[in-house]
Structure formats: C-alpha cells, structure tokens
Symmetry: C2
C-alpha cells in the first residue's frame, strides 16, 4: 500500500480528523479517516517514540489491593471504571507523568515502578494515539483533594475477591486496560 | 457534571468528531471534543450494549502457539503487531464476527470460545468506541487467501519463548491489547 496524501479536515485544539488518500493492493485509490491528538500525525512521522498519555496500574503495597477509579467520562455521558491516566506534559517522562496523575486523581504516591510498556497503540483502526502502561506500587490514603474541576473521581481499592465481584457485574462500563488487568487479577492474582 | 449540548462537527462516513458543551463542578461552561464511529454516540445513548468491533485473541491448539498478525495500519503509516479484529456487521453477534474476522485475516478456524468480554472502551478520553475481546482456540493453517485488497497481513504463531523475544524488541509497534497479552504470555504462560 502507498500513502500519497494526508489532509487535516478539522481545526480543533486537542483532537482532529485527518483523511489519508492511498492506493490499495489492486492500485485503486481509496480514502481512510482517522483521529489524532497530534498536529503532525504518525503517517508523516514514523520515528515517533514518545507516548501521548500514561495509564497507571497501581498496586497498594500495604493494603495488598489493586487501585482503580470510577470516573465520569464525557464521551460516554456516564461513569467508567479505569486506571488513573492523563496526557504526558511537555518535558515530562512517563514515570513523572504517572506519579503526577496518580497523585492528582487518587492522592496516592508511587513507591516503586514495577514495569513500563513502550508507547503502544490504543486502537489503530481509528487513531494513532499511543499510551504507555506504568505498573507501580503505591502508598498513602485515597483522596480526591487534588482532583481538577472537570474531574469527578472515586478511588476504589480491590482485593482479588472484590475484583472478581466487580468484573462479573453486568451494566458497568470498563476501560479495555482495566478490564484486562481486573480479569487477570481475579483469575490468577497477577497484576503485572 | 452536566452535559447540555452535543454537536456533530464533521460529516464523514465511518468516523466523526462531536463537541460536547458541559458544566464542570464549579459550574463553568466548557467544551470537550471526542471521536465516534456512531451517528448517535454514547452520551445520547446510555443503554447501548453492543460493541463496535471484535478483537480475537487466538490460541492455536495443535501448535500450542499464540497467533498474532503483523499488519500495515494506515493511521500509523507502518506495520503494527496486533490481533485479528474488525467491525461487527449488522445482524452479527460477537462470536460470529470473531469467527469471520479470524478466517478473513488468518485463514484459521475457531474451534472453541474460551472467554468473551463485555463491550469495553478503547480510550474514553477521546472516543466512545467499544470492543469485545474474544479469546478462542483455533485450528488450521495460516493463509492470507481471504485478505481484502486493503489488507496486508502476515500471520505469526508464537511460542512462549518467541513471545518473550518479540516483545523485548525495541522499535516494533504493538497494539495495547496485543502488548498486554504478549506480556502475560511471555511472563507467565497465561493467555486468558
């Protein structure tokens, strides 16, 4: 396949649509639309190595519990269970961004980094968004003192039994990453 | 938080941007842009229960290997390692869509469904897209005979050792779901 033109078709601040013209394997000219957080998205920028956002998978060491958050998500118009997460600020590395987001969204402090993923793609059929997963141990008491005005966050600490109970409930909304980690934790007691 | 208006700001066939006006906790009026595959996206449609797409996590029973695909992704302008996946067609259930996509993209046949996730959210900070993960056992020989003209797919069968090798390589691009499953498979020999 050959990409020969990319056009930006919206002019928003944080998220835009781009249209790609390409030739498929039969040499037909076709069109593909995707969303990007970047003004200079991936098809033009193959060497990119930094992630748009960090997702923190926190395990509370003293309580021996997995930490998740229940958060109002505008795109869903309702609450979703997921992990503390946010965009990486300019000049921050993934660990710094993860420490900041965990504190802002839960009041908890990172005590040890267990594992860090490279930048990985959220859903490449529709976007070039990348995230890094940061598996950490943390400590402290949950608090929403540091929440922003646009955030409505409830911090939940889960034993393996509680994770089993939560994930089996119908009608709850889960993020992909949280569902996969909860599923592993519930079935095997493993987080990372 | 209170959503009081949603405006569709593009007119594309498969993916659009929507702008939400809402009041934050301090009653300030703000704006949030998200992408949706739907003409009738989630904030207007709380009761939605079907997934936009299926992601198949296939384990080849005879070979005792995890199956992944290396696929050219237009949004990245390069190849990515991920799982067979695709949109759920009207009238299909998740298992039917998964069986079809696995056959189209790899030539392999589902022999047993191991686990199915509910609809879960890909990246709710930017989209209401939902997927269902379908963990299956499969059989047959890999083939790209059924690939569409817009698909360029290489099927890869991985032992646990091969998964360890692949995931440790820098500069390769992975989808979130494939990285998480590969990581668990490499570290613990567990897939679902």
């Amino acid at each position: 396949m050959e990409i020969f033109q990319i056009e930006k078709i919206t002019d928003c601040k944080y998220l835009n649509l781009f249209s790609i013209q390409y030739k498929d394997r039969a040499k037909n000219i076709k069109n593909w639309v995707f969303a990007s957080r970047s003004q200079d998205p991936d098809p033009l920028n193959h060497g990119r190595v930094s992630a748009d956002a960090v997702i923190v998978v926190p395990f509370h060491r003293q309580a021996k519990k997995l930490v998740i958050i229940k958060e109002f998500r505008l795109a869903l118009g309702s609450c979703q269970y997921g992990f503390p997460a946010g965009l990486v600020d300019p000049g921050e590395n993934i660990v710094q961004a993860g420490e900041r987001e965990l504190l802002e969204e839960t009041g908890l402090a990172v005590t040890r980094v267990l594992k860090q993923s490279p930048p990985i793609y959220s859903s490449s059929g529709m976007t070039d968004e990348t995230i890094s997963l940061l598996f950490v141990e943390c400590d402290g008491s949950p608090s929403n003192f540091f929440n922003e005005m646009s955030e409505e966050i409830e911090v939940i600490m889960l034993s393996r039994e509680a994770a089993k109970g939560l994930i089996s409930k119908q009608d709850l909304k889960f993020d992909v990453k949280s569902w996969m980690v909860l599923s592993m934790f519930a079935d095997y007691g493993i987080i990372s």
